[in-house]
Structure formats: structure tokens, C-alpha cells
């Protein structure tokens, strides 16, 4: 399997894990630095701090003044950015291979030396509030946020990654800086580097740049466990709009539970394989598309098994077709879930799901950026070696297993169901 060939893992004395893959035929490198710093690590009052810190790392260090990082990376045509999720914050640069050193220098420097100028913190406050307002413009965002926060009452997955508005208004520079100092350290990070380079030389450079950065000795408190759900929770969102949406989310176990493999196949059968998220979507051969879109009840219908560090949600999302009653669509959606609980998938469905996953491993190799992301995301959750066994483990799942996990997790008492109803105010 090309995606996982030639991977090497090295752990520096200060705890930084470095995963490299030489691809001599590529003209580029892709450098990704991952921190275990996501919304699951946040506490009430500072929700959104991980994401805000991410923004602040583009605001300058002593060595690389504000704008210099953007300028240096851009002048070589580089693609670079950062993003924050529930489980992590990651920074990446894809550059012509000659510029590898620049990417390494920037990330090593801002691991410790970001300034967090109070003026910049204030300026960024309005930018982040604007980002949140942009998201609030989208009915689907509002509905996801509502369902997520209803499904999780105790676990920090309750909080949106961008943070609650009130926290964004009140968080201080010190809140941000303390979080940064606590979580941005080599023993709370790992680096994934792919492309054209000489591994031995690169490791020397990495040791040179990161070796002196001290461990923080971070020891996370246990993240609160979400208690079992004992009955359906329903939420509604009413805002001006034109379209109705339905989300049904069910609690599922974390990636160490063997049930994740039948859950992945269940997801594939409902709306196409996504175990390696690359290449084309296969949702049109899925059961949800056939039963909802082709029957003219919905404009789109998908499922998603969320891979994450802690137990998360298996989510079904439907865009209700114009002029179709939402209650009718909800009934059809739940009927489809009942079906897979009570009748095992056909052999052809199982075969397709495996063929789609196999093809996605090939599509994943199209470019260094995509490969580096996939390897990094797997490393964060379970270790990248999990991908080596993925296809075998999926192929060992039986049709009975798929129906069993559907019955175990996709039942009413474990469900949070949300509906977006457009209110009647009309645009002018």
C-alpha cells in the first residue's frame, strides 16, 4: 500500500514524535505539526481558546514578525494554513521541496515564541466573532451546534470548536497565553513530513531546531465521560431561511472499540465509504440516497461516523426537498435505520463498501498534502499503523455485525434529533 510505505517514526528526547516519508518523485514537501489542543481540552469560560490560539500563531514571534510567515511561505507559492477541531490544532505548509527548511523553522519557532501582543488579541477578537457570525448565517451550522450540544451534556464535545459567543467576548489575552504555554510543547505534539528530502539530513535539521525546546510535562486531566443517554432528545432551530434540514445523531464508541469497523461499514452502506476520506464521494449508491433522494423526499442525504479521540456521534443529515413535509422525511429516514437494524446488508453492499475503501487508499496518494493529513489524523487518534490493518479488519466484518451495531447504537433512546424550520420572514 503506497500510502503507508516508507514511513519512519522517530521520537526525540523531548518527546516530539516525527513521522517521515520520503517521496523522491515529488517536487514538493508537506510539513504538518499537530498539537493535542482542541475543544475537548477546553473548560467552561474559555471555549474557543484552541481556535483563537491558532489565529494568534500567525501574529508573529520575535524571529518572524507579523506577516513575515505569510510572506515567506507565499513568495514560494506555498500552500499553508492551520485548523482546529475537537481533538487537535494542526499547522501545515506545502512547499517546493527546496524550501523545506523554512517550514521547519517557522513551526519550531512558533511552538514556543508567539508574542500574543494585546493589541493583536483585540483585533483578532472581532475577526473570530465575524467568523462565528459567518457560520451562524448557515442554517446547517446552527442545527449541528444545537444537536451536538444537546447530545453531549458533560463531555466537552458539547462546545463548538469556535467557542460560544459570550466566551469570545470575554476571554482575555492571559487566558490565551496560558493555554498556549500549557499545550504547545514537543511532548504534546507530533510532526508529519512527506515529500522529497533526505531523511537522515532532515532528522538532523529537526533535532537542531526542536531539540532545545523543553517538555512541558503536560498531564491532562481525564476528560469527563459522557453518561449514557436514556431517551431521545429533540431540538429545533427556527431562523429565517428557505429549506428544512434534519439531523439525527447517535452516540457511538471511540476508536479503540472493535465495533468501529462494523460502524464504518454501516456508514458505507448508508452513504458510501469514508474510512479513508479521499477521492470521489460514493453517496449515490448508498441506501439513504436511494430511499430519500431518489424517492423525491430529500435533496441530499448522508451519514457520517465521526472518528475521534473520545466516543462521538454517528450522524445522519438530510436536506428536505422543497415542499415535502419534514415529518414525512423524518419517518422515511427512521424507517431506513429500522431496516438495517432488522435485515442484514446484502453481500453486494458489503463488497462495494470494501472496494470503495480500497480505491480510496489509492486516491489518497494524489499529492503530498492529502497523504500527510491522513497519516497525521490517524496518528492522533489511534496511531497511523491503524491504517495498515484497516482493510483487513473491515473485510472481517460480517453482515450480521453491521446489523448488530445498528441495533446497538442507532436506537431511539440513544438519538438526538434536530430539525431546522425556516421561519416566515421573507428576504427583500
Amino acid at each position: 500500500m503506497q500510502l503507508l510505505s516508507n514511513l519512519h517514526e522517530t521520537v526525540l528526547e523531548n518527546g516530539l514524535t516525527v513521522i517521515t516519508k520520503e517521496i523522491p518523485s515529488s517536487p514538493a514537501i508537506s510539513n504538518w505539526l499537530w498539537y493535542r489542543a482542541g475543544s475537548r481540552n477546553e473548560s467552561p469560560g474559555i471555549t474557543g481558546v484552541s481556535h483563537w490560539v491558532e489565529h494568534m500563531l500567525f501574529k508573529g514571534t520575535k524571529k518572524f514578525a507579523k506577516d513575515k510567515v505569510d510572506r515567506l511561505l507565499s513568495k514560494h507559492g506555498g500552500v499553508f494554513n492551520a485548523f482546529t477541531s475537537e481533538d487537535y490544532t494542526t499547522y501545515f505548509e506545502t512547499l517546493p521541496s527546496r524550501q523545506l527548511r523554512l517550514a521547519l523553522e517557522i513551526e519550531a519557532d512558533r511552538m514556543q515564541n508567539a508574542i500574543f501582543d494585546p493589541k493583536e488579541v483585540e483585533s483578532e477578537r472581532t475577526v473570530i466573532i465575524s467568523e462565528r457570525e459567518g457560520a451562524e448565517n448557515q442554517p446547517t451550522y446552527l442545527l449541528y451546534e444545537e444537536v451536538q450540544s444537546a447530545a453531549f451534556r458533560v463531555h466537552p464535545y458539547h462546545n463548538p470548536v469556535i467557542g460560544w459567543s459570550n466566551d469570545l467576548k470575554t476571554m482575555t489575552r492571559d487566558d490565551l497565553y496560558s493555554y498556549y504555554k500549557m499545550r504547545y510543547s514537543p511532548d504534546n505534539a507530533f510532526l508529519v513530513l512527506l515529500g522529497r528530502f533526505d531523511r537522515k539530513k532532515v532528522l538532523e535539521e529537526i533535532r537542531d531546531l526542536y531539540g532545545s525546546v523543553p517538555r512541558s510535562g503536560i498531564r491532562d486531566k481525564a476528560v469527563p465521560t459522557e453518561p449514557p443517554q436514556y431517551g431521545e432528545r429533540r431540538v429545533t432551530v427556527r431562523r429565517p431561511g428557505n429549506t428544512e434540514y434534519i439531523i439525527a445523531s447517535y452516540h457511538v464508541p471511540d476508536m479503540t472499540n472493535p465495533d468501529v469497523y462494523p460502524l464504518m461499514l454501516l456508514d458505507s452502506i448508508l452513504s458510501g465509504a469514508k474510512a479513508v476520506r479521499s477521492g470521489p464521494g460514493f453517496e449515490r449508491s448508498g441506501r439513504l440516497y436511494k430511499s430519500l433522494v431518489e424517492r423525491q423526499l430529500a435533496a441530499s442525504a448522508t451519514s457520517n461516523f465521526m472518528e475521534s479521540m473520545d466516543p462521538n456521534l454517528f450522524t445522519l443529515f438530510v436536506t428536505v426537498r422543497n415542499r415535502v413535509p419534514v415529518s414525512k422525511v423524518e419517518r422515511a429516514l427512521l424507517r431506513e435505520i429500522d431496516k438495517i437494524c432488522n435485515r442484514v446488508p446484502r453481500p453486494g453492499e458489503m463488497k462495494s463498501a470494501l472496494a470503495q475503501t480500497q480505491a480510496q487508499f489509492a486516491y489518497a496518494t494524489d499529492g503530498v498534502t492529502n497523504q500527510a493529513y491522513l497519516i497525521g489524523a490517524a496518528q492522533l487518534r489511534t496511531g497511523y499503523r491503524y491504517l495498515e490493518d484497516l482493510q483487513r479488519k473491515l473485510s472481517e466484518v460480517s453482515p450480521d455485525d453491521v446489523s448488530r451495531v445498528a441495533r446497538t447504537y442507532l436506537h431511539e433512546d440513544n438519538r438526538t434529533l434536530g430539525i431546522f424550520y425556516p421561519s416566515k420572514e421573507v428576504s427583500q
Binding site: 507559492g77 475577526v127 429565517p240 428557505n242 494524489d366 427583500q428
Partner: protein, 420 residues
Amino acid sequence: MNGLKGSLKIRREETDDGLVILVNERSDSELIVVQGTYPSGPVFDPEKKSGLSRFTSEMMMRGTKKRKYRRIIDEVESLGAGIRFYSGDDVSWSSARCTPRTFDKALEILFDCTANPVFPEEEVEKVRGIMLTRIMQREDSTAAVANRIAREMLFPLGNPYHHDPGGYEESIAGITREDVASFHEKHYGRNSAILTFSGKISMEEVLQSIQRHTSEWELVEPGPRVPDISVKRPRKSRKKYHKMPQKSQADIAIMCPAPERTHDDHYALDLGNTILGKIGLMGRLGKSIREKQGLAYYATSQYVSRITGGYWIAYAGVNPANVDRALEGIYLEMGKITEKPVMKREYSDVLTNRVGNMALRLETCSGAAGFMQTIERHDLGLDFVERYEEKIRSITREDIQRACSNYIRSDEAVTAIAAP
């Protein structure tokens, strides 16, 4: 100089009846990306049938003489291959992603859909419903509404670029099966198609597959690559507000006419636009509107060059209270880039940016297949990538200023604001 040498090796063939094929073989790849274009984009939509091109694209896989819709999807997706048809501005696209093992079958189905669609009536109704729902979703997005209004203002009624490619409720409601069938018959001929392939595949293998699977693909009456379009420059600036109650954020779109891809000003304007709205974190606009003033999460610009009738657009998403300040800031930056040559440092950065960016774009099979389409559609020459660096290095700072002065003009711009 020339860090791009050898980064895109292309073989080109043209069959006797006019089918153009470009192949970029990559022996170390595990996949194959196929792209096809046809001169049948929304620019060809009849005036009262806005959305017909997109409707036709949506219908292409919904049944052929040999296969029903369900069989097409099941056959393709059970292989782990993906086939899509969609439509841009000037052209419609088909694309396939597959592996060497599934290539021949995927291509057979792709050509079956391209050559033999039957457009069943019941599928027309399904697509109509999906498209109507998408229109409702579009009209609920401040960004999409601002963009649509700006486009409608810049390209007046009667201009083929006036209408939204997704159509409107009334136009989609009026499209019939016959409209779709005749649109397909007129535009999707083998002599009008450009096919590009990148990945683990040779020209010989491509030609064999094409020979096996395209015997039923008919020719069309040769026509223009785009309709005859003359875009009159606006005589004065105009502004339109569209109220969208209870939205949290306002979106701004500012649009000016810009030259076509083959125009002499193309490269200079591309460099100017990169400096203004792209390089770094959204160029000068991002620096001023987001970084310095903290007014917006995004403030950026784009130069869309087409076969004809291109445009330049700046857009920003801002808090409703900051709309006027953001507009003022964007107009100010539009003015500045026309008043004096860009700084030497910006100039040298943008040249290396474009070269590096091109190298990264060509690193993937998807990027290469897409870029070969650009090369062929605009007749840029197979050695274009090799000449690219030299070409852009011949553009001076004064050229950039002159091109920006010609096109990025706040006194001629149309501005649309969708806001609560």
C-alpha cells in the same frame, strides 16, 4: 531560472473526427484522473431557460440506452470509481477517478453516459426538485446572494453571463425533457470534446479504450466555443443592498469586467490580483480589512478569466455594523494598486509565488488533468508550463499598474451587499 522544467509532460492526439486527447503519464501513481470538457456551459443557456446547462449535466448519468440510472451508479461506485458531470461558466465537465484496474470499465460507463443518455421523464422531475431546493439554499446564503446580484448587475439582461448558472425557480420549473435532450444533442459531440488523463496510464492505453468504447458517440455541428459576447464597461459605479433579515453576517461582492484568458493584459492582471487579494493571507485586502482593522474573517479577490467576458471580484464577510468601513477599505485598496507601481518586494514575491504555485498545482493528478484542460481550451501550447516563468518575468511593475488601472476600477465597479 525555470524550476518548472519537466513538471508536466504531455502527449496530445487528435482523432480524424476531432476528438482531442491529452495524456500526462505518471508511472509511479496509483490512480488515474480523467477530465472532459464540452462547449456547453451555462453561457449557452437560452434566455428563458437559465440553468439548462446545469440541468443537463445533472441528467447525464440518469439513464442511457443500455443502462438505467440505478445500474450506472451501482456499477461505478461498486468498483470504487467515481464519475461526475457538472457545469462551469463556459464549459460543461465530466470527470472520472479510478485505478488502473477499474480504468477501462469506468471509461466505458463514462462514454456511455456522454454518448447515449436518454433523459427519462421521471428522472427529469427528480433533478428538477433537487435543483429547486438548491436555489432555495442559494437564496438563503448572504455570500451567494451578493455574488448573484453583482453578476446580474455587471452583465446586463440579455448577456449570456447575466443569469445564475443554477437558474431560477421559474426557469427551472419550465425546463422540459426535450430541452435537455436537444441541449445535449447540440453540444456533447465527440468532435467538441477535450479529454485529459493524468496518472498511471499511457496514451496507447487511452486510445485503445477510446476506440473500444466510443463508436456510438456522435459528432455535432461545429459551433463556437462560446456565444458572441460583448461586455460593455459600466459607465459608472452602482451599488445594491439586499436585505436578509436575522442573518448574523453581511456579505459584500464588488465586481468589474476583466479580460479574457488570451488577452495581452491577462498575466499582468493576474499578478496584480494576486498582490491585491491572494498572496499571504488574502493579499493587501486581507492585510487591511482583516489584519489591520479586524473587520472581517475574509476579504479577498479573484480574477476569473474565461474564453471571453472575464471579471474581477472582491468579496468580504463582515459584521453588519462594519459594512461601510469594509467597503471604504476595499475601494481604497482598489485605488492604491492603480495609482503607483507595486512595491519591488511585492513584485519579486509575486513572481516566485506564481512559479511555486504552478509547481504545486501540477503535483497532483487532479491538478495536472485540470491544467491540461486550460492549456487546450485556451490554445496555450503544450510547452506552456516550460515557458510560464519566462512569460511572467517579462511583465513589469508598470505593466501590473496599467492592467489594474484598466480593470480594477471603483468608478466602474458594481457592488452588491446582502445583509441583515
